[in-house]
């Protein structure tokens, strides 16, 4: 099942992270500034409006973990260790070329790691509140968005005009709309593509830096997938169990979870994760005061660092219904306390909706592929 190759060129997205290395170098040579960012809470419109190039630097491989563990504790989330390790070793070109790295005080591990990162990279840390619904939290975040704007203007010696920020909001809204349209193709039954292909696009599009061209390419992809489906081409077997994936950021080596699902008679129809539906679910109000609109929209992302994290429950409920989900698989990275604890609430939520639920813990090694396969196969056999 997982061997289905689409005539649509998903490889363009699969290789985007690598291809982007050269693109970023060229952009740097042209005098462009590069901003490395970790999280979906980072309002990248500000960098775009400043003429800079935002790029995701969350790391998804165990390549640099050993190096990171010379400084960081072993019992820490692999994403944090890996990301810090890439900064230490200069092995990630994006980190290497970054003129500014922006992080937020999301989880304990990340915010303390940013202190260490600040000693080797030009780092700006946004104070993110842990609640999304009270005035004081919203006000804090709004001020943090303004503080980020000032930092970018000072560091890069530019002034971000109102027209520029509005244009940035507009083009990012378009991207989010396209990504949403693409994701929602999998509402079809059977879905038009396997979840592994969907993931390639979700992750790969983060490394396409010409935003106009990216939007055009996304449009083409959607049309091609639709045309194939309408002409009767099927890449997903009839009767494959429709799985929603949620939990920690999933990409790179952790696609082993997706493989385990899709080799066991399942198909991932939607990713609720932050490389997936979560960051595209909402758009920024183009008619409101831009910085207020940016702050309001980003703060509402439902990550487990928030308490209570009811926005995640609401999004999961909506996605399970709209994508006609047969089962929910949560991936928790080792030592991610906020997600691991929230699992208890998600389990109750899923039970209340009679949707089978399983949570698996994994890290950036590949040694547990067989164990994951057994769990996923057993989970799907139960349906």
């Amino acid at each position: 099942m997982s061997n289905n190759i689409l005539p649509v060129d998903f490889e363009s997205f699969a290789d985007a992270r690598k291809q982007g290395f050269l693109d970023v170098k060229n952009l740097k040579d042209q005098g462009k500034k590069v901003v490395g960012m970790y999280c979906t809470y980072t309002p990248e419109e500000i960098f775009i409006a400043a003429g800079a190039v935002p790029v995701g630097i969350c790391a998804f491989s165990d390549e640099t973990i050993a190096e990171a563990e010379k400084v960081l504790p072993r019992n820490l989330c692999p994403l944090i260790k890996s990301s810090y390790g890439f900064a230490l070793t200069d092995k990630c070109p994006y980190m290497y070329f970054a003129d500014l790295v922006v992080g937020e005080t999301t989880c304990d591990g990340k915010k303390k790691m940013y202190e260490l990162l600040g000693e080797i990279k030009n780092t700006h840390v946004m104070q993110i509140p842990q609640s999304q619904f009270d005035d004081a939290s919203q006000e804090l975040w709004y001020k943090e968005v303004l503080r980020l704007k000032e930092r970018v203007e000072n560091d890069f010696g530019v002034e971000i005009t109102d027209d520029a920020i509005k244009a940035a909001i507009k083009i990012k809204n378009e991207t989010r709309n396209l990504l949403k349209e693409f994701a929602e193709l999998s509402k079809l039954d059977p879905p038009p593509i396997m979840g592994a292909e969907q993931l390639k696009l979700n992750y790969g599009q983060l490394f396409k830096f010409d935003l106009e061209a990216k939007n055009a390419e996304l449009r083409q992809m959607i049309d091609k997938v639709k045309a194939d489906y309408d002409s009767g081409v099927r890449y997903v077997p009839e009767g494959a169990k429709r799985i929603l994936v949620t939990g920690c950021p999933l990409a790179g080596v952790t696609d082993k979870v997706v493989k385990a699902i899709e080799e066991s008679g399942g198909v991932v129809v939607v990713y609720e994760n932050c490389i997936g539906y979560k960051p595209i679910a909402m758009n920024i109000d183009e008619d409101a005061e831009p910085y207020r609109a940016i702050a309001d929209r980003y703060l509402q992302i439902g990550c487990s660092v928030m308490t209570p994290n009811t926005n995640r429950y609401d999004l999961l409920t909506e996605l399970c219904r709209d994508f006609k989900v047969d089962g929910v698989v949560e991936m928790v990275l080792t030592a991610c306390h906020t997600y691991a604890i929230e699992t208890a609430n998600i389990r109750i939520l899923m039970q209340s909706q009679n949707i089978p639920f399983i949570s698996v813990e994994t890290d950036y090694s590949t040694s547990d592929a067989a164990q994951l396969k057994t769990r996923m196969a057993a989970f799907i056999e139960m349906m």
Partner: protein, 263 residues
């Protein structure tokens, strides 16, 4: 009536059963060894060769049997006609042996799992296979250090008193046992402590499964042969825990049940 052979290739033992129609007619147990495919083949050939037991010996032809594999070695058994996970198979096998149960506690050689059943079908499960805590490997280690034969644990363990083992980790627990021996603690009491520790681990898993205690649980896997362990688990969890003389074959039985169900 068709023939079905279920093979449960575990980390330590390879368990196989022969079904004629809906009835189990024979079983075979051998060490998994270094090559799961070889031990599975040995099990299959033995069962076919023995054929139908009784006064009319009847050798079964390979072409007349469906072979179903489960267990961690299932992927290596290339001659299997179908494979299912050990979760599904243990659940169905346990329900075959004891239809009234509400769940399964399986303690195997290198993993342990707890399965919740609804109407004889698996509804939820938890699996521990990242570390040896509370598995057969843990008990084997303890028996080695204590110089006790694994088959004699029920005779050896102190029936009422135990030395508390605080570490769940196999490596640390070994150090603890060695320290206890150095402090001249009674071996039977140390072994009782080890069984308590395995029971505690099983309790942590059953607690997360949300059993309500209406129906008994069945303990499967090689360690189900220890009555002391079964009663320790019953005491710690507060549930009625049963076992069955064929409990070790639950996975292999379930493989047959699943295949027969699928037609």
């Amino acid at each position: 009536m068709g023939w079905t052979v279920g093979i449960d290739s575990g980390s330590t033992m390879c368990k196989a059963v022969l079904f004629e129609g809906n009835n189990m007619v024979d079983q075979y147990l051998t060490k998994t060894g270094w090559n799961p495919a070889l031990s599975a083949e040995e099990a299959l050939n033995t069962l076919l060769d023995r054929g139908r037991q009784g006064f009319r010996r009847h050798i079964i032809k390979r072409g007349d049997v469906r072979v179903v594999a489960t267990g961690y070695g299932r992927e290596a058994i290339s001659f299997a006609d179908a494979t299912y996970t050990e979760i599904t198979c243990h659940a169905l096998g346990a329900a075959f042996l004891a239809p009234e149960i509400g769940g399964v506690i399986d303690i195997g050689g290198q993993d342990s799992k707890v399965i919740r059943l609804e109407k004889g079908k698996p509804a939820d499960f938890l699996m521990n296979d990242k570390c040896a805590a509370g598995t057969g490997r843990f008990l084997t280690m303890a028996c080695d250090v204590l110089g006790i034969n694994l088959e004699e644990i029920d005779d050896f363990a102190h029936p009422t008193e135990s030395v508390h083992i605080t570490s769940m980790c196999t490596v640390f627990a070994e150090t603890e046992i060695i320290s206890s021996l150095a402090a001249r603690a009674d071996r039977g009491m140390i072994l009782a402590g080890v069984l308590q520790s395995i029971a505690q681990r099983a309790h942590q898993m059953t607690a997360k499964m949300g059993f309500d205690g209406t129906n008994p649980l069945l303990m499967t896997g090689g360690l189900a042969r220890s009555n002391m362990l079964v009663s320790a688990i019953a005491k710690v969890t507060g549930f009625v825990v049963k076992t069955d003389q064929n409990a070790q074959f639950a996975g292999a039985i379930g493989a047959c049940v699943k295949e027969i169900e699928n037609g």
